[in-house]
């Protein structure tokens, strides 16, 4: 029973990682950049929802909606101001700029909300689910997290595979120049990708803070790094890979904490990542790229 309960909280945490990892992997697939500021967008989303519920007295759903809107806009603005001018620059230059954006968001949040942690009220107010005469208790937050993540994953997969914009996204990630020649608005498509990724980050932020209710300006960085790891784990650039990687990472983390060592859980997660990459150097579902001279 304890195993089942751990497994469920692992899947729940993993779903959050998966949603964040989707943002990383989509942006990477399309713009070939590691968006290190993604983790901090999560934090912004969580703060927005927190403010909406605590200070402005809005219902949780309105708070989530507000967080999504703000983060989507934020994602577009960041892309336009900081990343678009560097389209032709080396990937390392873009990486450092992304780190600059990450510092900026963290410190702006530090100025506005101060360093002391806020207690995030869960957006899920349903009672916990009790099974087998109370020997297995599943928190409502976990259930909602898993359901929401599943909906997002299905919707995103359909969007990317069926819709016209999704097709454009795939084309741009395949070959930017060829896509442009086919009449695809490359800059617009990249903006849409950032918008979707950041909107997802807002949802992830709210779900994460509902389960782990401490909210600080640095709340986003560790989940950000873990989700980034998850994206690489599954094969960066691959959408199903990000989902798989995220969920596996969450399960490994929680099971590692429960059965091996609480203190070394991070080390275990990263060690598994290294072993996977050594066996499959492009991640679980990544494509192998042949190099030419």
């Amino acid at each position: 029973m304890a195993f089942l309960s751990n497994l469920i909280s692992g899947i729940s945490l993993g779903s959050v990682y998966a949603i964040i990892a989707l943002g990383y992997t989509m942006v990477y697939g399309i713009a070939k950049m590691l968006n290190f500021a993604h983790g901090d967008v999560i934090m912004v989303g969580a703060y927005m929802c927190f403010c909406a519920m605590n200070y402005w007295g809005l219902p949780p759903l309105a708070g989530i909606l507000l967080a999504i809107i703000i983060c989507t806009l934020l994602g577009i603005v960041i892309e336009k101001l900081a990343y678009k001018p560097l389209r032709a620059a080396t990937s390392l230059a873009v990486l450092i700029t992304a780190i600059g954006v990450s510092y900026f968001l963290q410190n702006a949040a530090l100025l506005i909300f101060k360093a002391d942690p806020k207690v995030f009220p869960s957006v899920v107010t349903l009672p916990n689910l009790r099974l087998f005469d109370g020997s297995l208790i599943i928190s409502a937050t976990s259930i909602i997290t898993v359901i929401v993540s599943a909906i997002i994953m299905v919707a995103l997969t359909l969007f990317v595979s069926r819709s016209k914009t999704g097709k454009a996204m795939r084309a741009v990630s395949e070959d930017k120049e060829a896509a442009q020649l086919m009449g695809i608005n490359v800059n617009g498509t990249i903006s849409v990708t950032f918008a979707i990724g950041s909107g997802l980050a807002a949802i992830a932020g709210v779900l994460l803070c509902s389960a782990y209710p401490t909210l600080m300006p640095t709340t986003g960085s560790m989940p950000g790094i873990k989700a980034f790891t998850a994206a690489v784990f599954g094969g960066i650039g691959s959408i199903p890979g990000a989902m798989l990687g995220g969920i596996l990472l969450g399960v490994i983390e929680i099971l590692g904490k429960a059965y091996i060592s609480t203190e070394l859980s991070d080390a275990i997660v990263f060690a598994v990542l290294i072993i996977v990459l050594l066996i499959k150097p492009t991640g679980l579902l990544g494509r192998k790229i042949n190099e030419k001279v």
């Binding site: 990477y28 590691l34 900081a82 001018p85 560097l86 032709a88 620059a89 080396t90 390392l92 230059a93 990486l95 450092i96 700029t97 780190i99 600059g100 954006v101 510092y103 900026f104 410190n107 702006a108 530090l110 100025l111 960085s221 790094i225 980034f228 790891t229 690489v232 960066i236 060592s261 203190e263 070394l264 991070d266 080390a267 990263f270 060690a271 990542l273 290294i274 990459l277 050594l278 150097p281 492009t282 991640g283 190099e291 030419k292 001279v293």
Partner: protein, 362 residues
């Protein structure tokens, strides 16, 4: 007089910058012109310059992005502390203990560098970057749960379970206490030691770059497959650059730790690795002199921005983004160059030079 080669001249300028920096700072701090907070920054500045120069060897010269450089620094720091504190009774001289600590720290970091490098260097590009990040986090996580004590029987090293004072023999003491890190360190580092470490780091890195091995390393960066096909042992040279870089970081870490009374593993996290990477990229990849200057300026920048206390890290972030945009966006770069030329024109009468094509790219 024998004519100096281009390399030797450039090296001389690099050494001269460091020497002038040392002399000027000595005079300033000696005469009391330097604020006390800035004087306290002198040793960390030296340490971060060494970190930047050594990371430049991996990132700029070898061309592999490493996000875990602080991990090697922490290995050096903790090893150094253990050595210095265990030898407290047997080696009386502070400077000798410091040198021993730094040497053992470097050796230990080099060993970890080999352990990390062998698997990591098989990967490419972003995958390599994420694995170095992962190793950095693993090292931090392990050191965070390490307990080391010293008594008459020798060293007691344990992972996860704390060592209590009562288990130790008479006169025993704790060196590393899990998440609290090392405490009660005798401050051994001096600015002069930092200066000597900078010279040593520069000597090693510059000589490596300008040797046959260095050229092999750079050829791997420029074109791995071509390098392999002319018979360069890619793995060997990659590992060489990586391990030298790790060892130098370990040495810098030992000096860093010995500058404080206590040091914890969480100080050497991902953010520290990123900080050093920022120095390297802003200074110019593969440009050793650039790393020195960028590290010195950027490390002091938050200190200089103290006037705008609360906003200083925000400013730092903005400066970072703007510098990256200006140096990497062709339109902005040309704009800045035009303004610069116009400004120069005000003060210096220059003969207009005909426009050259293709100047803007690189």
């Amino acid at each position: 007089m024998k004519k100096l080669s281009k390399n030797a001249k450039s090296n001389a300028v690099t050494y001269a910058i460091v020497i002038v920096f040392y002399i000027v700072m000595q005079i300033l701090s000696g005469s009391g012109t330097l604020s006390s907070s800035l004087t306290g920054q002198l040793i960390p500045i030296c340490v971060y310059i060494c970190m930047a120069v050594s990371l430049n060897l991996t990132v700029g010269i070898l061309g592999e992005l490493s996000l875990g450089h602080a991990g090697f620094m922490s290995v050096g720091a903790f090893t150094g502390v253990i050595v210095a504190m265990s030898l407290q009774a047997s080696v009386a001289s502070g400077p000798i203990r410091l040198v021993l600590a730094m040497v053992v720290g470097a050796v230990m970091a080099a060993i970890v560098g080999v352990l990390v490098g062998v698997p990591v260097l098989r990967l490419r590009g972003d995958y390599l970057a994420i694995v170095t990040l992962a190793f950095g986090e693993i090292i931090k996580n392990i050191l965070n749960n390490l307990y080391v004590a010293y008594d008459a029987e020798g060293l007691h090293i344990r992972l996860l379970t704390a060592i209590s004072k009562s288990e130790l023999a008479e006169g025993g003491f704790m060196i590393i206490n899990g998440p609290q890190g090392a405490t009660g360190i005798t401050k051994l580092s001096t600015f002069t030691a930092g200066f000597l470490l900078m010279l040593f780091t520069l000597f090693v890195v510059l000589n490596l770059i300008q040797s046959r091995s260095g050229r092999a390393i750079m050829s791997i960066r420029d074109n791995r497959i071509a390098a392999e096909s002319v018979g360069i042992n890619v793995t060997k040279y990659k590992l060489m650059a990586f391990v030298v870089s790790a060892a130098l970081a370990g040495m810098a870490g030992a000096l860093y730790a010995m500058n404080f009374t206590g040091v914890a593993a969480k100080k050497f996290d991902f953010n520290t690795s990123i900080l050093v990477l920022v120095f390297v990229v802003l200074g110019g990849m593969g440009n050793i002199r650039g790393s020195i200057i960028a590290a010195a300026i950027l490390y002091v920048l938050p200190e200089l921005l103290r006037a705008v206390n609360d906003y200083r890290m925000l400013f730092y972030a903005i400066v970072l983004i703007v510098v990256m945009l200006v140096t990497n966006n062709p339109t902005l770069k040309n704009g800045v160059n035009a303004v610069w030329t116009a400004l120069k024109g005000v003060f210096v009468k220059t003969v207009p030079v005909p426009e050259e094509g293709g100047e803007s790219d690189e």
